[in-house]
Symmetry: D3
Subunit: 253 residues, 6 copies
């Protein structure tokens, strides 16, 4: 079920069988010249959507603005401060927990959100409110990505390009994929003698992309989406199989 | 344009002619037994959508969780603290202002958001960042509402019911409209000798609705949507006609 | 009793019969050329004073600086941020609650304080600390105001002018009442196609007043003060008649 | 002038000659069985009142709730958190500075406020907003206190008792002065081998008083009030003689 | 024991007999031309070190940056905001309390830290987390300081000079002691008619020192260190003799 | 130079040639049964110490408590909230920047600090205060670690064990290394279908260690320390070679 489509009375009934809430979160930020600014929240929303026919799941609305200040120099990027995003996520999960759903998966489409989501999840668990791990689609099938592409599957790179081709190909400017790859580094960030000195994306990629986007394809996107969706499905099954209490931390050794 | 559907390079070009950003905000909260929990953000999104073909407008993604703690006792309600919502909105508008768009309309679907939005708008203006008034659809055509309905057009009442029938009638449980009106008060809140003592919705309405939802109709919804959309359009025109500088406050008398 | 005039030992005895604390709050802000800057806190203090002979009431000291940044361009206006004022009020009420008085009326003289007071009251109630509704004198007798004046009784308008004539006529510059009304709008704020675009008072009134102050009179002030005081008295009676527990919110439907 | 008694237009004129704002701050807290809870703000208000006929001074309204959590176990004590009080004072002084008065004296009646006031003053000065030292009446005439009393002039002790006898003797329960002194320590706090271990007043005084209140007298109160007022007057003169710029800190050695 | 030198398993065993944690805190700030910037944390660390052979004590690591913004104009001074330092100390003590040690002494080397430490200690005690008084070495033996020196033993004055000569004489520039005393005031701060107007050290001392540093000597330092250490030892004994519960505040009179 | 060992006047002279500040930060937290709780700050301090003879470097004092709440169930672990640690670090670097040193390396010994340090560094750079990248010793020589050990060099694993053997072998309980490795996982954390579900260390390692500590040796420690120190030296050289302005971010594409 998509929670927002229920009325409060049908939600009351539906929530009786719900065990896991899904909160899709992403970002609105530059993804180079070829991919849409909404790539990350669209991806999160699409993965969440694969679960909305389960009776033990409720899908919350998608949060579209994330921790993206490091992309701020590129046109169209929106961002919230890490503290703000952390609070917005935390309070949303506290809300659904107050209705009795104390397990959640944060389906995340944006790497920059990860730290804030970790802090939110740790706090929610330490306070006995909810167990809410973050699921990053690009980390769920590492071997498949390695098989599919020669260059790393980073920001606006081959994996993300493939995924958007699968999910919303009308929003991909395929004729700009070459341009996207020009001057793009192989991996994320810039490191000098072990220190990360690339604080903003603009420091290390002129186009905003990382990796070679031209490696992307609809077929790879389909494969990635299916494989990652299966992992997400399995994660939800795993959560259903564990009681909330069993997921809480020990107090002390 | 919908900002999220652009790439950063097409956004760069499109933003050159954009003068006003539209930020739809709503809530996911109980609207009685007949209307969907997502009523408020769906309404905001729909009104924003009427503007997305204008070259001088960019529509930002919709923020779906708002200031709704006062509905917390009803199943499915989600909420953020006022400070969190205010910050999330403020930072989103600061972001688009950093790309040169310093006028915005916050298209709001939820009364509980109004105070936080006012604080955000005052701060953005005082800091010379953006002029971002809030537009509440239900306040834009007061006379039409009076003409259409006998009871007040409040939360989950006839006006809102009509609007959702127009926008997403598959999500309205029409056979629950009678139940929604049972015991519902005529107006919002509970007042005792001039003091508001109804802090939570549950204090004064057993179903979550206010007013008589059965007064609502598709026809009224269509009229309301068209009339209010015209007001929104006119508001955007008014903003386009005023320079940002002319909208800033005087320093002192 | 006025709490501040008691010693701690006589307070201990007196508080045994006290059921309701009264916290007068106002503002120090422009009220046009004719009314004193202290109008709002003086009004709150005067209304609170009508209750200080009740054994079931304790009157706390008056908080004189409120949420008035929107008047900042007029000489002499003082203001606190909404968060600061909210905290100062909340902590004051928490204090008196710690001595066993868990019902309170915030007697408010300033419209700009209302949102912050609502947030404070909601939090205090949700935390089971106190039930502390806000009472705005100008909202307690709406029909009387309609009877007495032709123009709206807004900021520094006929109702407020009348009240100060009743309470402290030596502070009213009666020969400036004409000037106060010159160019003053009929109602508060400035609205464009349903959006509030008048963020600061200076945006919509050159003198700082709203409505026609020359409609004000000592007689009207006396009537207003008596009628509103009776409402306040009745509100306190209503609170006395309800146990604290009965005023707490339900947990969930 | 008392600022609150002016209208905004007479304030505009009066502020042209004003050089120093006076902000009286105190507390509402136990002062033992004999002195009123409002002792501290009443004292601050009285000292401020000695200046209100000066054309170069404006007296702001008195802030009656301070940093008094350490008295919380005694009936009737009210308190704000240090951060809240600091913010309330800071913003009030920022307000008057925005109207051109950038020097201020915080006339303080309560020792517990001192640290918060120091932080406020440092910040206001470092930000070039205002120079706002705190003046504590009990520290302005140390030799006179030594001459007048044998025991230390601490909280609710002989000096404070004398002052309230001078300012508001109808609020002093003179027949309770003996009781106030019973078991009261000579000085403030409790120290163990150099560490302060008396965090709350209740830790070291059973009555709430410090020193021997029976040493207090109307005559001593009159002397103290006059002598301290003269010091305050001299402090204001000193501020008038120094330009705001000359009071700002050096940037670096 | 020094906590940091234990492994977690040997700490588990050792903490079984530990009753009091010692947290040394200081500052890195100017101490005039003759004493090292680290004077305050080095002193705190040295005093803490006298206790590290006690089985009922654990010594936590030394926090070297404190509340020193008022020294900021002198080269090399480091500082944290009071709120930040308060939080860092509070959380460190909360941590050790979570392992069962709910009594602590904050061994403090810097006067500017005192207010923040008081707030931390009050909060920790009010929340039943820990009893953690602050011990300032220079306040533990007031009579000895009076005996040893003619001028006041203030910042970078004779007492502190003596102490550093005892603890780390290789860091004292003895040939700069004359220069340090040139133009140095006898006591801390600058007072005008009872108001403290010296907000920053640079306001009242050209060298950064207070008092006459040339009065300092190794012998005096040795005496001070031994006498103060004995007081600290006695304070720890006193804490060991009192149960945690007996140190908690009463709820109300 | 170690800043704390200078007086303010010798620091003034020394800072004239200083270009880069070094801030060592670590943690006090469990490192399994064999390594000391202070491992992380001791490592940071040791690496920082290799630079203290450079005239273009100043070494700030070591901050010993970090972001370690995820180790809280193990005896002796201390922690600060991420926000507190971030603020403490930020303000320390702001301090040294105020004396003219606007480049810094945060020499970090603890993985849990990385996110907070990234936020601090981004903010300092965006505000034009300082360029302060974080250097993590264990990331500076990845190939060497791969060569030296068969298992991953994670928390309390072979690399860290080797390093402490090199730096402070009297603090290593070598006879507990076997016990440390019992049941320890190969890598950090616990992942389920792409989601990190191991929020606290206790979730995935019974001893607190990760990897096989018995692989560690003094020889490997010496190699690691020398190789990593050389990288740190090279990083400082790189910073010296770049002007502060050249390290600031572009405003916009």
């Amino acid at each position: 079920m998509r929670l927002a489509e229920h009325t409060t009375t049908t939600a009351a009934e539906a929530l009786e069988t719900v065990d896991v809430a899904i909160l899709p979160v992403g970002s609105t930020e530059q993804h180079g010249p070829a991919l849409p600014l909404g790539t990350d929240f669209m991806a999160a929303d699409a993965f969440a959507g694969t679960l909305d026919d389960r009776d033990d799941v409720t899908v919350l609305p998608t949060l579209p603005v994330g921790v993206s200040e490091h992309h701020r120099q590129f046109h169209g990027t929106l961002w919230a401060r890490p503290e703000t995003f952390e609070a917005y996520v935390t309070e949303t999960i506290e809300s659904i927990a107050s209705h009795g759903v104390q397990k959640a998966v944060i389906v995340n489409g944006h790497g920059g959100n990860v730290d804030a989501l970790s802090r939110a999840a740790r706090r929610l668990r330490a306070d006995n409110v909810a167990f809410a791990p973050t699921w990053n689609w690009w980390e769920s099938t590492p071997e498949l990505s390695d098989d599919l592409f020669e260059t790393e599957g980073g920001h606006a790179g081959p994996a993300e390009t493939s995924l958007v081709l699968e999910l919303a190909d009308d929003l991909v400017r395929e004729d700009a994929l070459d341009e996207a790859g020009e001057g793009a580094p192989e991996g994320w960030g810039e490191s000098v003698h072990g220190a990360s000195v690339g604080f903003d994306t603009i420091d290390f990629t002129p186009t905003g992309a990382v990796g070679d986007p031209t490696e992307g394809s609809r077929e790879a996107g389909e494969e990635l989406f299916e494989a990652a969706s299966a992992e997400l499905e399995a994660l939800v099954d795993w959560l259903v199989d564990h009681s909330f209490e069993s997921l809480l931390p020990d107090d002390h050794v």
